[in-house]
């Protein structure tokens, strides 16, 4: 690109600043609340009038929060891995192969993506109890995998569709088995798409609230969003603003790190192959 004019520079700087500020203000507010003492909560300024680390030490020392955090990470990772694996296989079939029932499969995926979760809670709860899955990791992993599949299938089939068929055929003509063609030719090209899909699915699991509060009863499987329901304030009537804010910040940090690591991948994955001017 040609050298930028001053006007262009300031233009982009402003645009960057606007995005950054708008994105960060509510997060900064949470950080500010998490550092305020209970007395300072009634002071509406963003800068805390009284500081304390007590909210953080409180929740980080309590197993009531640490264990749910671990649960969230573990359940999220496992669900994502399984969901992306299954979705890749189905997406490959949709993109590459012709078979009867393809539109049924796509319709099924869309149906599941659309169905309201609230109606599924009670019957799923009954099944999980009967199978002994209630309050276990699997009790959440299995629904998360199922609900991550539609998004994964859609995203990945669009990706696979864009990878030229010729590459595989060339590999096959060179003597590779379909599996080898897949792993050595297609998979590397699809990797960015799979990373993007994995991120989307992971965030969906990380975010889930309704299933987490319905299918868990103790910290052995409760996840972080559900754990915030159990925080208590000074009395039955007080909202525990400090601990909730601290917890909110703590569960956001892994995501920030995650995004920091993968943002290059995410965006590259979405834009790889853009025709260079």
């Amino acid at each position: 690109m040609a050298a930028l004019t001053v006007r262009q520079r300031t233009g982009w700087t402003t645009a960057n600043l606007v995005v950054v500020i708008l994105a960060l203000i509510p997060v900064l507010w949470l950080v500010s609340l998490s550092l305020k003492t209970p007395a300072a909560v009634t002071d509406p300024s963003i800068w805390p009038s009284q500081w304390t680390w007590g909210n953080y030490s409180g929740i980080l020392q309590s197993s009531q929060f640490l264990r749910p955090l671990v649960n969230s990470i573990g359940i999220g990772l496992i669900s994502t891995a399984v969901s992306v694996a299954l979705a890749s296989m189905a997406a490959y079939a949709i993109a590459r192969l012709s078979f009867p029932g393809k539109s049924v499969l796509i319709g099924l995926a869309l149906l599941i993506a659309m169905f309201p979760l609230i109606a599924l809670v009670t019957p799923m709860f009954t099944i999980e109890r009967a199978l002994g899955l209630f309050n276990t990791w699997f009790g959440l992993i299995i629904p998360y995998v199922a609900f991550g599949l539609p998004l994964g299938i859609y995203t990945l089939s669009a990706f696979f569709r864009e990878i030229p068929w010729e590459l595989e055929k060339a590999a096959k003509m060179d003597g590779a088995t379909p599996f080898q063609a897949f792993t050595m030719v297609i998979a590397p090209l699809a990797a960015p798409g799979m990373v993007t899909t994995a991120i989307l699915v992971f965030l969906a699991c990380w975010n889930d609230f309704l299933l987490a509060i319905s299918f868990t009863s103790t910290i052995s499987s409760r996840t972080a969003p559900a754990a915030m329901e159990y925080f208590s304030g000074g009395s039955v009537f007080t909202t525990p603003t400090g601990p909730i804010s601290a917890a909110a910040v703590v569960i956001t940090i892994p995501i920030i790190i995650f995004v920091l690591f993968f943002q290059r991948r995410i965006v590259a994955g979405l834009t790889s192959g853009a025709v260079k001017g």
């Binding site: 007395a39 009531q64 709860f125 509060i213 329901e229 159990y230 208590s232 009395s235």
Partner: protein
Amino acid sequence: MIKRRGSRSVRSRVYRIASAAAGLTLAGAALSACANANAGTGPVALNFYLYQDTSMATQDAINNCNAQSHGAYTISYQYLPQASDAQRQQLVRRLVAHDGSMDILGLDVTWEPEFAQAGLIVPWTGAYKAEAEAGTLKPALQTATWNGQLVAVPDNTNTQLLWYRSDLVPNPPTTWAQMIADAEQLAKEGKPHYIEIQGAQYEGATVWLNTMIASAGGSILNASATGPSLGAPAIKALSIMKELADSPAADPSMSVQMENQNRLAMEAGTAAFELNYPFVYPGMKLDNPTLFKSFKWALYPEVTPGVPAKVTIGGIDLAVSAYSQHKNLAFQAALCLRDAQNQLIGANVGGVPPTIASLYNNPALFADYPFHADVLSELENASVRPQTPLYQVVSIDLSHQISPATGISPTGTEQSMASQITNALASKGLVP
């Protein structure tokens, strides 16, 4: 196969004897272990479900009871979510699925009819019932009674008082009309004048409504809980609520305020009166010591002059799950958790009023509870919320009618309440 029998047979015989001996020893050890286990199995684990009490009063009570049980049982404190609705949902969901791991349940005082009607908790009979009823305040017992049976044992209770600023109002008002007039006068003088009351669209608003209607001499439901009662007392109650909402005495945020926001507004100095639970007392002491000096209490204002208010009580009752594997022990443990000693701890450490009447004459209560006399007199004359398994629906409908309070029209609201209650009790229609 006849093969070298000689050495092999000797070896095998040795092996056989050795293994037999080993087997016998093991069996013997196992048997004796069994015998020992049967003779004195470890304490039975009882799971007690309640929201997390950060004051540690509940944990103290649990520790006391575990010690006093002499190894018969160990109560394990299992936390429920903080919000009342979330607690109820968890309990119902698991009990309906016959969860056998729940023994003692800490129930809000409005849930007993629902849980009992659905067969989720068991009635108290015989000696347990007698012990539960002995010396317990009548309104608290009423909340634990359904269909003539005692289905839970009252643990603690709660009632609202009138809190006021003696520097603004030397003599507290005794009726609502007077209180509103006082507030309007203060408003004219440019002094802090709000009357803090819970006006948000939630259970607290239903509590306010119930208090007002009961104090006006009426009730929300009829005696058999099959239909609405309301009528003239309800219209009177609603007109007072409307009057407050329209007057300058109403806090602008009233329609979003719950107990805690009322407390904060009072501590911030913008209010002159507050109708709230006693938890505001230690709060004011801690947060605003200057204001605390003129922070006083009085009996809840009357609706009809000369007729004491019938304030609606809150609190927790302890029930035994119908699916518990250790019901007998659960009854005993529950009775221990709410005995006089532990209720005293609950009052002094946890700030919740006891349900055993004699404790109100116990000097140990007085230090942290200077208002115990007023609390007791209100408790003895208290009202309870409508008792029906469909209480949640009724409550949601009612709170949506009276919040925001500016939308109340005394006769119109009374009529729509009546029709909504009729539908709710027939389980017809939606809740908002």
